[in-house]
Symmetry: C2
Subunit: 292 residues, 2 copies
């Protein structure tokens, strides 16, 4: 009996790591689709997949599972350009950091091809297959936004794949809720990091940085083209979060400027108590420590 | 011959850790001054100092080195209340996160008592002697702001103590420059962390946090009373930094809101290139990794 087949399209940091992590999953062969000879060579040397191809479209009719790991525009284009080539009954999922616009793009797929939006909450501040590793997803969140047509069978299959990759948990939500939450927990952190790094003092502050500076700015070394896509695809939710932060930061500035120690102490006590509370809730929780 | 004496006033996280780290330094005895019986008991059990006292003022005439580890107001009060009790020729240093106002307060000391402002760039998101450890300062920055009257002998002594505590390096600067830099690299990070934690979504976002959220908000669990002092004592420099950040964050919001992909991409490329550059400079540097 021929093996079933998982096609991973795009072997960058996430796609390469997923192709590695998915190897050995049940009776599936993992095929990795690359665009450049240099990625092919590296992927082959790392044995990033069971087999490599330059032509993902040609593999689609035989792929039982397709994992789209391109950048957001790449995923949207691929769905549109190849909508008729997917195998009937296939499960298609993606790894994009925004979900509403990806789910909308996936509506072009014919009935019988099941698209489930996914977002593995893992990453590094470096990209590319050179930095891929099969252990990247261990103990991180795997967020899933199934469409109304998602089958129970495919959801169960996705859960088994998540378990094989050693994700810490699988969180099911709607695309809209995902995008609101991600605007807050991830995109806003990137806006902050780049804004801090824009400051003129960045290059003169060496010797004065503590852990907080290093931690806060870590993600500023981002892929500008990809984050431009992620930010603009999630503009409504992100704009709301950034405006909210502007307002809160401004309140602190006013209190400091006015030497309003009582007000400042009250604001700091409130925020600090919230943070201590969430730390406690996390400690009581399922102990998932999202990847760095 | 009687041993020389280092008096550490205040055995919290930093003072307790310093008292531990300084033990065994040359021919000095380390005396730790505490205020509560509970800190005394813990300090005794941890052997945080060679000897403990409830009465730091009584120790001052015999102390060759005095290390002030109270909160900022506590340091300022202590200097004012005990200015005539310090041993002539003593070296006095502190650990406060702002330096201009501490240096100004130290001007009340008589000639012959040498005050050198210090800031060990180490910490934890928890406080108190329970969390103190002698290894806290390993490979972190030790910032020193000597006054005009600081003697070469005392500076050399301070360098030897820093080495004994295994600091990564000693950075010498002016109080004003320290306060500008620290407003950027530390205080602003705390303003950001509490502002993010003020958001209504804090308690609903569990399952959606990645490493960037955890890292950025880590320091929000702060000591509100102490940070109120630190912020207001450094108001001019901090207000400038917060206003600068507000402006930069606002520019990102405008670009996202206007779907200005070209502008956004240019801004993100610029910031990301700066961050990558500073990472390179750090990697080429002295390899000091500030403590978490």
């Amino acid at each position: 009996m021929e093996k079933k087949r998982i096609l991973v399209v795009g072997l960058g940091l996430i796609g390469g790591s997923l192709a590695m992590a998915l190897q050995g999953f049940e009776d599936y062969e993992v095929v990795g689709a690359v665009r450049s000879q240099s990625t092919w060579d590296k992927a082959a040397a790392m044995h990033a997949a069971d087999r490599l191809t330059f032509d993902p479209a040609a593999e689609l009719p035989g792929a039982d599972v397709v994992v789209l790991c391109q950048d957001p525009a790449g995923i949207i284009d691929f769905l549109r350009d190849n909508r008729d080539k997917f195998k009937p009954g296939a499960l298609v999922w993606d790894v994009c950091g925004v979900k509403t616009s990806i789910m909308a793009a996936a509506e072009c797929l014919p009935d019988g091809v099941d698209f489930i939006g996914c977002h593995p909450m893992a990453g590094k501040e470096v990209s590319g297959i050179d930095n891929a590793e099969g252990t990247l997803f261990r103990n991180t969140h795997f967020i899933v936004t199934p469409g109304p047509k998602a089958t129970a069978e495919h959801l169960a299959l996705l859960h088994r794949m998540a378990e094989h990759c050693r994700f810490g948990d699988v969180i099911e939500t709607t695309p809209e809720r995902h995008d609101e939450m991600i605007a807050y927990t991830s995109q806003l952190m990137h806006v902050i990091a780049v804004s801090v790094c824009d400051n003129d003092e960045l290059f003169s502050c060496m010797g004065f940085e503590g852990g907080s500076f290093r931690d806060c700015t870590r993600v500023a070394a981002l892929d500008a083209a990809m984050w431009t896509q992620l930010f603009t695809l999630n503009a409504p939710a992100l704009v709301k979060m950034v405006a909210d932060l502007e307002g809160r930061i401004h309140q602190y500035r006013v209190a400091i400027e006015n030497n309003d120690r009582e007000g400042l102490n009250a604001m700091l006590s409130h925020a600090s108590a919230r943070k201590k509370q969430i730390n406690l809730e996390r400690a009581r929780g399922d102990d998932v420590h999202p990847g760095f």
